[in-house]
C-alpha cells in the first residue's frame, strides 16, 4: 500500500505545520474583502521556492482552502462576500447575523466548509481521471446554457418582486458588457475613459454593491450593527452540530455540486455555490425561509465553495488546465520548481501529487479548530467594536480591498460608483444579488454564445450546436425546471388543498 506512505509523508510535522500556517493565513486574507484566494496564493509563491515541491504545494493548497473559507466571515458579519465564492453566503448569513445568530452562522459555515473541503479532496483522490474527462465535455454551448440556468435562479431568489429582480438582472447584464469584449474585441460603454476599458471587476463590484449600502445604513441609523443576544457569545457548536446532522443530504449534494462545477474551467466558485443554494432551496420543506436566515442556505453555499478547491485541482493535475485562477498560479509555481505538469504528473510524480492531496485533506480538517477560534474572534470584534470605529474601519477595508485587486485606483472608483448606485436602488426595493448575478453570468453567457455561434456556423450546424447536444439539453431541462418550479409547486399545492376541501 504505497498510498499510506504518501499519507504518512503528508502527516510529517513540517508538512502539518505548513498546512496549519497556510490555512490560518488564508482565513485572514480571505476574510478581508478584496483580498482574494488568487492573491493569497500569489503572495506565498516566492516562499515555496525554498521548499521541496510537495511541501510547497501543501502550503499553497492550505492557504487557498483557508482563503475560500475566510470569505464567509465578511459575508455573514458584514454582508460583503470576501471572495466571489461567498456571494450566496450573504443571502442567509447576514440575516442570521442581524438577528443575533452570527456566531451560530459562523460555526455552521465552518462545519460546512470542512465537509465540502474533505469531500472535494476525496473526489480528487479517488475519481480525478474520469471526472476530468467529464469536464472536457463542457464546450462553449454548455457554458452558455449553464449561465442561462444560473440566471433562472433569479426567479427562485425573488420571493417578493420578480419584476424588480429581473430589472436588476438586466442592469447586471448591461454592466457585464462594459469594456472590451473577449470575443471580437469591441469597446463598449466605456464613454472614452481608461477607467472602464478593462471592464467592471467583479470583486470591486461585489465590495461596492454589497458593502457600501450596509456602511451607509450603519452610519445613518441609530442602534448597533448586529443584534446581540445576551445569552451566549460562544461557539454554539452543539446547536450547529444538530443542524449539521439534520442536513447531511444537503451537505453531500452541495459538496458534489461544488466539486463538479469547480472542475469546469470558466465556471468558478460563485456559480457552484449558487447552484447548490438553489438546489437546497428547491428541495427544502419550507423554501420560503431561504433568504431570511435559513441555516441550510449557509450549509449549502459554504460546503459547495470549499468543494470547488478539490474540484478545481482535478483538471489542473490531470489535464494541465487550471480549473480556477489560483490553480493557474500554482501550476506556474510548479513549473519554476522544475516539476513537469500535465497528464503524466499522476504517474511520474505520484509521491508529490498524493502527498499534496493528503495535505489538502489535512488542511480542510485543520480548518475546523482554526475556523472556530478565528470565527469567534471575528464575531466578537464586530459586535464589540463601537460603531464609530467599526464604520471607518469597514470603509477603509472597502477602499484598500478594491485598490488591492489591481493596485489601481480605477477599481476604487468603480466600487464607490456602484456602491452608491446600489444603495439608491436598495431604497427603491431592488436587491443587490440579481445585479451581481447578471454581472457574473453575463460574461460567461456572452462568450459561450458567441463561441458556439462561430463554431456552429463554421460547421454549418447552428441549430444542432445549441439544441443538438445531449448535455446541453440536460442543462436546458434543469433551467426550465428551475424557472417554472415555483409556479408548478404553487399549482400542485392549491390543487391538493382543493381536493382536501372537496373531500
Amino acid at each position: 500500500m504505497e498510498i499510506f506512505s504518501y499519507l504518512l509523508a503528508a502527516l510529517h510535522p513540517w508538512h502539518l505545520g505548513l498546512a496549519l500556517a497556510g490555512t490560518t493565513a488564508g482565513v485572514v486574507i480571505g476574510a478581508l474583502p478584496g483580498l482574494s484566494a488568487t492573491m493569497a496564493v500569489a503572495i506565498l509563491v516566492p516562499f515555496t521556492f525554498a521548499m521541496d515541491p510537495a511541501a510547497g504545494l501543501i502550503a499553497l493548497g492550505a492557504i487557498y482552502t483557508g482563503a475560500i473559507y475566510g470569505g464567509a466571515y465578511s459575508a455573514i458579519l458584514l454582508n460583503t462576500p470576501g471572495t466571489p465564492s461567498a456571494i450566496a453566503t450573504t443571502f442567509d448569513g447576514y440575516p442570521m447575523a442581524k438577528r443575533g445568530d452570527g456566531n451560530l452562522a459562523v460555526s455552521l459555515a465552518t462545519l460546512a466548509s470542512v465537509t465540502g473541503g474533505v469531500i472535494g479532496a476525496l473526489f480528487l483522490l479517488t475519481l480525478a481521471p474520469p471526472l476530468a474527462s467529464f469536464a472536457l465535455v463542457f464546450g462553449p454551448v454548455e457554458y452558455f446554457w449553464l449561465a442561462m440556468f444560473g440566471l433562472t435562479l433569479i426567479s427562485a431568489l425573488a420571493e417578493k418582486n420578480l419584476l424588480k429582480c429581473l430589472i436588476g438582472a438586466c442592469l447586471g447584464l448591461l454592466l457585464s458588457m462594459v469594456g472590451s469584449a473577449v470575443v471580437g474585441g469591441d469597446i463598449r460603454f466605456t464613454f472614452n475613459t481608461q477607467t472602464l476599458l478593462g471592464g467592471i471587476d467583479i470583486v470591486a463590484a461585489l465590495i461596492g454593491i454589497y458593502c457600501i449600502p450596509v456602511l451607509i445604513e450603519l452610519v445613518a441609523k441609530a442602534g448597533g450593527h448586529l443584534k446581540v443576544t445576551t445569552e451566549s457569545t460562544g461557539y454554539r457548536l452543539r446547536e450547529a452540530w444538530g443542524q449539521f446532522n439534520r442536513s447531511r443530504i444537503n451537505l453531500l449534494r452541495s459538496s458534489t455540486i461544488g466539486t463538479i462545477v469547480g472542475m469546469l474551467p470558466g465556471a468558478g466558485g460563485s456559480i457552484a455555490s449558487l447552484v447548490a443554494y438553489s438546489e437546497a432551496r428547491r428541495t427544502a420543506a419550507q423554501p420560503e425561509d431561504f433568504g431570511k436566515g435559513e441555516p441550510n442556505g449557509i450549509l449549502a453555499t459554504e460546503s459547495a465553495n470549499n468543494a470547488t478547491v478539490g474540484g478545481g485541482f482535478i483538471p489542473t493535475l490531470v489535464l494541465g488546465i487550471p480549473g480556477t485562477p489560483p490553480d493557474a498560479v500554482i501550476l506556474g509555481a510548479l513549473m519554476v520548481q522544475g516539476v513537469r505538469t500535465g497528464p503524466t504528473l499522476f504517474t511520474d510524480q505520484a509521491p508529490i501529487v498524493y502527498t499534496f492531496i493528503f495535505g489538502l485533506l489535512i488542511a480542510s480538517i485543520l480548518m475546523l479548530p482554526i475556523g472556530l477560534i478565528m470565527g469567534r474572534y471575528a464575531y466578537r470584534a464586530i459586535i464589540r467594536l463601537p460603531k464609530e470605529m467599526l464604520a471607518p474601519g469597514i470603509a477603509l477595508l472597502t477602499v484598500t480591498g478594491s485598490f488591492a485587486i489591481h493596485n489601481n485606483l480605477h477599481d476604487v472608483q468603480v466600487m464607490l460608483g456602484l456602491g452608491v448606485m446600489s444603495w439608491l436602488l436598495n431604497r427603491y426595493g431592488f436587491s443587490p444579488s440579481p445585479i451581481v448575478l447578471g454581472l457574473i453570468l453575463g460574461q460567461i453567457a456572452e462568450q459561450g454564445f458567441v463561441q458556439a455561434w462561430l463554431i456552429g456556423s463554421a460547421t454549418s450546424n447552428l441549430w444542432g450546436m445549441y439544441f443538438g447536444r445531449p448535455l446541453s439539453l440536460v442543462i436546458v431541462g434543469l433551467a426550465i425546471l428551475s424557472l417554472f418550479y415555483p409556479l408548478l409547486m404553487a399549482k400542485l399545492r392549491s390543487r391538493r388543498k382543493r381536493r382536501l376541501t372537496h373531500a
Partner: protein, 320 residues
C-alpha cells in the same frame, strides 16, 4: 536594512540577500527594483520573472520585487509607465504583440513608442496544436482539409487581436486557406476546448503543448530551427511557410531613464538570460531564449512594427 523593508516579504528576502552580496559594489542598483508585471500572477510573464528574481539578487545583491498590475490586457500598466520614477529602479514587463496591436486598435492611453524596451529575453513560439487522436497527422493534411471546406475548420485561441489570433490570420494568409478562429478568455478555456474536441485544433504556444503533453500533437512550430524539446515537430519554415515568432517578452523603463542606467539594466538582464540552469528549465518548458539588448532594439522594433502593421491591416484593425 529596515530602510528598504517596505513590506515584510521584502524585508525577509533582503535579509537573505544582504548576507551574501560581496560583489555588489556598483552604484546601480542601490536599492530594490520594483518589477511590474502588466498581468496577473500565473502567466508566462510571471513565470519568467520568478526565474529571474533569484539570479538578479545573486548578481546585484538587490531584490527584484515582483508586483502585478493587470488590467485591459496590459494596457493599464503600459499607460502608466512614463509617469513612474525614471531612475532604473522601476521596470515594467513588455510584451509583443500587445504593445504594437493595442494602440493601433483603440486609444489605450499609450503609444508603442512610449514603451521604451531595454531588453527582450525570450519568446513563446506560435504552434498549431491538434488533439492526439485528430485525423490530421501533418500540416499538409490540415491544409488539404481546409481547402476542401473553406471556413469549416475551427481553431481556439486566447483572446481577440492577440498573438494567437495574429498567428491564425498569418497562417491562413501564407497557406492560402480560410479557417475560423474562435477566441476564448484565456489559455485555460482555450485548451479545454482543444482537449474536449470542441474545435479542430488550437493556436497556442510550444509552452502549452509542453503542459498538455501527449494528449496533443503539434503540427508545426514557428521557430527558426526545431525546438530542442520537440525534435520531431517540424518548423513552419521547413514546410515552406515563412512564420517565425510568437509572444515576445522583455523589460521596459520610463522614457526619461538615463542612458547609462538603461545600459546597465540591459547588461544585467543579458547576464541573467545566460544562466545555464535557468536556460535549461525554460527551454524544457518550451520557451525560446533570445537576446535583444539596447543596441539591437531599434532594428528589432522597426522590423516588428512593419510586420504587425501589415497583419493588423489585414485584420482590419488599422483603418486605411
Amino acid at each position: 536594512m529596515f530602510k528598504h523593508a517596505r513590506s515584510l516579504l521584502m524585508g525577509l528576502t533582503a535579509a537573505a540577500a544582504l548576507s551574501f552580496s560581496p560583489l555588489a559594489a556598483q552604484a546601480f542598483p542601490d536599492k530594490p527594483i520594483q518589477y511590474i508585471i502588466p498581468f496577473g500572477p500565473g502567466g508566462e510573464s510571471d513565470i519568467a520573472a520568478r526565474f529571474q528574481e533569484p539570479l538578479f539578487r545573486k548578481l546585484t545583491g538587490q531584490d527584484l520585487v515582483i508586483q502585478y498590475r493587470p488590467g485591459a490586457g496590459g494596457a493599464t500598466a503600459w499607460s502608466q509607465l512614463n509617469s513612474m520614477p525614471a531612475d532604473g529602479h522601476t521596470i515594467v514587463g513588455s510584451n509583443f504583440p500587445h504593445i504594437f496591436i493595442q494602440p493601433m486598435e483603440k486609444d489605450v492611453g499609450y503609444k508603442t513608442e512610449d514603451v521604451d524596451n531595454v531588453y527582450i529575453f525570450h519568446y513563446t513560439p506560435d504552434a498549431l496544436i491538434v488533439p492526439a487522436d485528430s485525423p490530421y497527422q501533418t500540416l499538409q493534411d490540415l491544409i488539404d482539409a481546409a481547402k476542401e471546406r473553406p471556413g469549416a475548420l475551427t481553431f481556439s485561441g486566447s483572446g481577440t487581436y492577440s498573438a494567437n489570433h495574429i498567428a491564425a490570420i498569418k497562417f491562413d494568409q501564407l497557406a492560402g486557406i480560410k479557417t475560423t478562429y474562435v477566441p476564448f478568455g484565456g489559455t485555460g478555456p482555450s485548451n479545454s476546448a482543444l482537449l474536449g474536441k470542441q474545435v479542430t485544433g488550437s493556436w497556442g504556444y510550444t509552452t502549452v503543448a509542453g503542459q498538455l503533453g501527449d494528449q496533443v500533437r503539434m503540427l508545426a512550430v514557428a521557430t527558426d530551427e526545431r525546438h530542442p524539446q520537440f525534435p520531431d515537430v517540424p518548423t513552419f519554415k521547413e514546410l515552406g511557410f515563412d512564420m517565425v515568432g510568437g509572444a515576445y517578452r522583455g523589460i521596459a523603463v520610463p522614457k526619461s531613464t538615463p542612458v547609462e542606467i538603461k545600459r546597465q539594466l540591459s547588461d544585467l538582464i543579458g547576464q541573467i538570460n545566460k544562466d545555464p540552469e535557468m536556460v535549461q528549465k525554460m527551454v524544457e518548458g518550451g520557451f525560446v531564449m533570445v537576446d535583444i539588448g539596447l543596441d539591437e532594439m531599434p532594428e528589432f522594433m522597426a522590423q516588428k512594427a512593419a510586420e504587425y502593421t501589415a497583419i493588423a491591416t489585414e485584420m482590419g484593425i488599422v483603418k486605411q
